[in-house]
Amino acid sequence: MQPVIDEFTHAIRLSAENRAPLLIRGGGSKDFYGNLGGATGRTGESILETGVYSGTVDYEPTELVVTVRAGTRLADLERELNGCHQMLSFEPPHFSSNTTIGGCVAAGLSGPRRASAGAVRDFVLGVRMLDGKGEDLSFGGQVMKNVAGYDISRLLAGSMGTLGLLLEISLKVMPMPARELTLRMEMDEAEAIEKMNSWAAKPLPVSATCFHGGELTFRLSGAEPAVRAARERLGGEEVMDGTAFWESVREQTHPFFQSGMPLWRLSVKPTTWPLFLPGKQFMEWGGALRWFASEADAPAIRVAAEKAGGHATLFRRNGPSHQADAFHPLPPAMLKIHRRLKEQFDPYHIFNPGRMYAEI
């Protein structure tokens, strides 16, 4: 595999010499995500496809750790883990069959199990990467506990490829629950918010929640007796095609996501009262994640998210007319740190410039 890395290094050095953008692309499943659709239109811009650097480097189920090349398809990785009854418990979305684990970590998106299990970054243990000078660097490792050096591996999760090219990633994996059961009950939004939060304060095996259209859908995961006991305690009607339902939430194939309107992602304090924004809403993560299909102005949405202790992302523009920045603006002091970090990792500003923020 070294020749592939040498090619990557060469491409990086060439772009660095020419001060030309180098767009890192895994499976292209999230081309829609971030600013500019990824492209900058600057001269000399080229695309670095990571799919050629794929395959598992090391997987030892009893260590709960897998090390995988960044260009590996997420579906292939999940199949391998599945064979040992293990999983990526942050349930990352695929959005396409080509999606890679590198893109998944770089975008930092997690699925329905996030509120109970943790996010992508919580499972990243180590990375091997190429920085903006083409240097081959490794941070973190293959063990759960490691405090040697700054946590650069986790810093790269969600950095949208603006700091470096991920080569290999070590992830903590978890056993698949013995039993899963999806239940549903009708209620209004305020009651749903109250219920989800009060459940989270009790030792219950609730692994996913979703509120939409007057229905609270939730999933129980764990040992058979624990799931059975929780079902008796919480009530609700069993949803027969539960797996398919959570799949539609995770992959955004649920009808809510097909409205054609701009899709906003509001990450807020979970106890936030119902947000009255124009458009339709879909709630996940125990109330901490609220999707809005809305034509409202970006500033109005962003103010609402800030008041709720969080932030708003323009997740899908669904039309070229929407000019707002994808990500919530940063305060000046934070932006300064971001610019300086970018300078250290990518001094020639070649990696995905502007995809996250104009300044980085």
Binding site: P61, T62, E63, V65, G108, R114, A115, A119, D122, D136, L137, G141, Q142, V143, M144, K145, V147, A148, G149, Y150, D151, I152, R154, L155, A157, G158, M174, P175, M176, N197, S198, A200, A201, P203, P205, G222, A223, P225, A226, R228, S267, V268, K269, P270, T271, W285, A288, L289, A308, G309, G310, H311, F327, P329, L330, A333, H338, R340, L341, M356
Partner: protein, 484 residues
Amino acid sequence: MSSTALVASLRAFLPAEAVLYEAEDLRPYECDGLSAYRQTPLIVALPGTEEEVLRILKVCHAAKTPVVARGAGTGLSGGALPHAHGVLLSLARLKSILEIDPAARTARVQPGVRNLAISEAAMPYGLYYAPDPSSQIACSIGGNVAENSGGVHCLKYGLTVHNILKLRVITIEGEILQIGSDGLDAPGYDLLALMTGSEGMLGIVTEVTVKLIPRPEKAEVVMAAFDDIRKAGDAVANVIAAGIIPAGMEMMDRITTHAVEEFVHAGYNLEAAAILLCESDGTAEEVSEEIRRIDEIMESSGAMEIRASSSEVERLRFWAGRKAAFPAAGRVSPDYYCMDGTIPRSKLSQVLSGIEALSQKYGLRCMNVFHAGDGNLHPLILYDASKPGELELTEEFGEKILHMCVQAGGTITGEHGVGVEKINQMCAQFRPGELEMFHGVKAAFDPEGLLNPGKAVPTLRRCAEHGAMHVRRGEEKFPELPRF
């Protein structure tokens, strides 16, 4: 700036008792939990508000004076060792629990709040703060953030980085950063992860919002004894392979069980080569099912004795032995040196045999306690500091152990941090380009290098002078590294 002038600038806004500079007042701050290293600071500043922290940093920044932050001073790697020409910034007076939000399951606290105090305050709501380092009665949450502290339950519940939501941080340039959010993520780079475990090198934390989680209904522990340490290691792997994530899984070797049994009377099997404690927590249904399965696995893994705790009293007694391991080392030996490497679990017997061989070679006994669930190994080297040369031998022994951990694919520090103690071993784990990137990250927050200088990340020059070879995973040493 002279020390007199610095004292005067600080006294301009701090009360007299919050600025210490007389030798006898400085003495209590000369070391943290790693007492082998001692240094009195120029001045100790004890701010009582965030505003005071900000002003102290501005004064020090203007005067180009180093600042070393200190929480409860329980750290084991010398991270809070003062700087001879610097200000030691004690955050101990910032000890208010600002808010407990039981509905959102969060606590907003100042950095000097003790770890255990958070769980105590959350108790009435059936909630607690999960990371439980062994020093949790004394250690502060600010220090936990600086070190990314773990505890015996972190395989299941995570480290500090997994259990905090938001930080307020003041940079040495006097800017306030709000890192994280009240939601589950924040825009931009994950500075929350970067700050956690940064050993006071990047900024001063003035407020921490932690996650609180529901207290488990029930906990039970299985104690299993093995006549061979390899069997115990296999039993750990078998538990994981069965899809069980125990709340805690700890191993002790024979020398340890003998040392603790003598005064704790935990009821450990003294014939055993290794004792395994495996805890299950959760709802009553979950626990009884899991304990039954753990029992079966221990049996099929060849345990010579298996006992499940039948009451809370017995559970605590089983744990008391493990928790007494460090004090026990202090009883059977005048001094002990605690190491903190992490290894892939599958390399356990290999590394333990290596430690045994080194123990013979150096003529020093070594007790091994092991967070078996997450691979974090704490060899306790027993020595006598009053014997000339024995401390140096001990340090050499320790360094060899850490190199062995790196070679096995692990790390030189799982949870105690690098501080001053393991700074030379960083040269063994990281290559020059990686160390330079760490310096780059530091410079992004603290371009003049005033926060905790000389800790956590060695200069390339230091690595060359120490002569430490990069030992990672059987790779060759580095030709580009200059050696003197």
